[in-house]
Symmetry: C2
């Protein structure tokens, strides 16, 4: 592993106090890798390494560090140093960092930044969590609709654009309303006297500060954008969001869906960062609800006690029915929830989906129950009527599970509930109750 | 809905045959929206609209169209027109399109493209599916390490860079080895005589043509890149992959994980595009396997038949035990699989994870079994020993489910199996068998 060799060398330089060489070595590394390396350092070495970092990369490294490590650092460096860091960081990163700090630390830090930065940061801190406003950066260049290519290139050179902002030119009028976007590559291949107005994108695509990050991600992904402008309630340009940040949003939203579908309260932090008690309380609500709903299935079993007494094969088949039903329901609901998340499936597709799932259920159910019928006859020595009752119950369970599995998420979305949260965890329990009821009804009809 | 008004207008212009106005209207729209609009058109209107499209956007629109609509179009336009389209498309889009066509159509189309394009496309078609090679585009600019800023700007202007390639300058030596990358924004703010060598990024980050798309996505996301260079086995630069395509890869990989975790064979197509028979066969293998493994749970029930006969409460509690165990196991395994997918959890964390999950299990199990104990005493009139046996079995089930749920995915990853595929679907069945065994063992000890 090449990376391990690099770490070894850094460790040695750090231990031997060779600060000059250490600084040289750090210059060769990506800020993300430096931040990763710092995770294993004790507070003392952390501070030392941070002080040795080349000036122009310390803010970058700082933005990629863990929250708790940043707090350690903040507690050991002076206010002036923190303020310098914040001024160097991209504003969205600075805001992310400030949001993690205790309120009095934020106040202390903000007192030292210049009034303009402070005003902007305060504005940022007011945007709702996970909104476009809290996600955007204000490091972008504005251009006037009347400019030509040479004007634009001059503005870029003078303002010293940053990496976050370079790919698109945003044209704003005198009231700062966003009027059009111009892709930079068109500017670069055009002659100096070409007006920007001739290079604008056909359609103006933007989001509002109050839009949820999911809307932002969907829009960026749909139109294959590298960045998207953000406007306020009056259509005035206030920031941009870049594709690299959108990738994190997509993973976050997916993690949330995974968690909800497994009956977990979505966690703000990653696994190891979440305290044990929080891990437990995130899981309890759904477990408690589902434990109580499963009492219904138990009541059905109790009600048909006399049927169970006929043959042990009847009780021995309960796990197979419950598990297969649960699995079938989960398969269907996963496809629905995923289809809705990616924008393919909508509530109005309900008839079409139900028709598909019903046929899939008939087919899958037929295969599974045929196999089970033969298995019961040959391996378990069941009578034809017994094997028939169990196999047919399995068949009905599969069809019902597929139907419930596809209908429930669509219905949840219809009444504006999150399908991953409201539908997925319930499906197994619902299918259980339905399949046990069918099972015993059929059994008591044909066997008793 | 504004979009509906736009659609209405397009419909009218199309119906009235006002081709000039239609072309003007289409100029105002984004290619993605035009492709979406075309979905509802019959083949005749589809062809008409396509012919009316402004020349410079028809290839763009074509890349965003559905596969079946593209086939319809290809069958109704001439070879020359198809060839012109392919020459206009980005190469990665063209290859995607050709991969969907029947082999003889590909041959026909390729015969007409110029030999150089044909050679490149043939090379592309050889890369394994979902590899970096199949994902990359070759539309990027190469620069020589000895160039300065004015050279670079001249090269950009002369080669007429395309949107896919503008953000980073790739420096390649005479053997076409990738030696360094230079961010465009540094070029734009520097004076003309600054050598590119002074503007290079500290670390060179790239992927190989044979790397899996998951590796590409992880690297791009980790380093917050807008594009990543792709090199061949000898380190020669052959293409780039941009962030907008990575977003699709991330969603694809997530969809695959969702499907695997629900015991579905990953589908190549979206839900509505997958034929019913394929939907059914994607689901059958795991359903069949899990149906057979659940027979073990059935056998455990059969073995302890005499215990069940003691009280109906014992059989009525089976669904609660099975469901709660399954849910607990799923919660733990989801957190593991997600943690591994995002790179936070690794096999070496097993002791730490097990220690956390065991404590979470003890806590959650204590709460759930206390509630159940009281419920059984007060609502079901159970004896203290009966309520104790059921509550304690629930407690043990929760702890075991949490442990199996975290260990199994980590073990799967250790032996190089995909945890989402190999571990998740099995967990419920395993937990079922374990919990039923504990349940009956305890019950036969204390109640019989």
């Amino acid at each position: 592993m090449e990376w391990e060799r690099i770490e070894e060398k850094l460790n040695r330089l750090l231990a031997e106090g060779r600060h000059g060489q250490l600084r040289g070595a750090l210059m060769m590394l990506n800020p993300v890798d430096i931040a990763n390396y710092m995770k294993q350092l004790d507070p003392e070495k952390l501070l030392l390494l941070f002080r040795v970092l080349p000036k122009d990369s310390s803010a970058d490294v700082f933005s990629y560090m863990d929250a708790d490590q940043r707090e350690t650092l903040v507690n050991s460096i002076g206010d002036a140093e923190i303020t310098a860091l914040i001024d160097e960081m991209f504003l969205d990163d600075a805001v992310d960092f400030l949001e993690e700090l205790p309120a009095n630390a934020v106040k202390r830090v903000l007192q030292n930044t210049d009034p303009k930065t402070r005003a902007i940061i305060n504005q940022f801190l007011k945007y709702p969590e996970n909104s476009a406003g809290s996600l955007m950066t204000i490091e972008y260049c504005e251009f006037k609709p009347g400019m030509d290519v040479s004007d634009a290139l001059r503005v870029i050179k003078e303002t010293g654009v940053d990496k976050e902002s370079v790919y698109t030119l945003y044209l704003v009028d005198d009231q700062r309303h966003l009027t059009a976007t111009v892709p930079l590559h068109k500017v670069l291949v055009s002659d100096n006297d070409v007006p920007l107005a001739r290079l604008v994108d056909p359609a103006l695509i933007y989001v509002k500060t109050t839009d949820d990050q999911e809307v932002v991600a969907d829009t960026v992904r749909k139109y294959h954008l590298m960045s998207i402008p953000v406007v306020d309630g009056e259509g005035r340009m206030v920031g941009i969001i870049t594709a690299d940040d959108i990738m994190d949003v997509i993973e976050e939203e997916n993690t949330e869906d995974f968690e909800k579908m497994s009956g977990l309260a979505p966690a703000d932090e990653t696994y190891f960062k979440t305290p044990m008690l929080k891990l437990a309380t995130n899981r309890l609500p759904w477990l408690m609800i589902l434990m109580f709903t499963s009492i219904v299935s138990g009541a059905i079993i109790a009600k048909f006690e006399n049927v169970l007494a006929v043959s042990v094969l009847l009780s021995a088949s309960i796990p197979m029915l419950m598990d297969t039903g649960g699995n079938c329901g989960q398969q269907a609901s996963t496809l629905m929830i995923r289809g809705m998340a990616l924008g393919e499936v909508k509530f109005r597709d309900l008839p079409r989906v139900l028709w598909t799932e019903a046929r899939v259920g008939l087919l899958v159910g037929a295969v599974l129950s045929a196999v089970t019928f033969v298995r019961l006859l040959l391996l378990n020595g069941a009578s034809v009527s017994m094997a028939g009752v169990i196999a047919f119950s399995l068949f009905a369970t599969v069809v019902i599970a597929k139907s419930i599995g596809c209908v429930l998420p669509l219905l949840a979305s219809r009444i504006k509930l999150d399908p991953a949260l409201a539908a997925a965890p319930l499906i197994t329990t619902l299918v259980d109750a339905a399949s046990l009821f069918i099972y015993f009804s059929i059994a008591s009809q044909f066997i008793l």
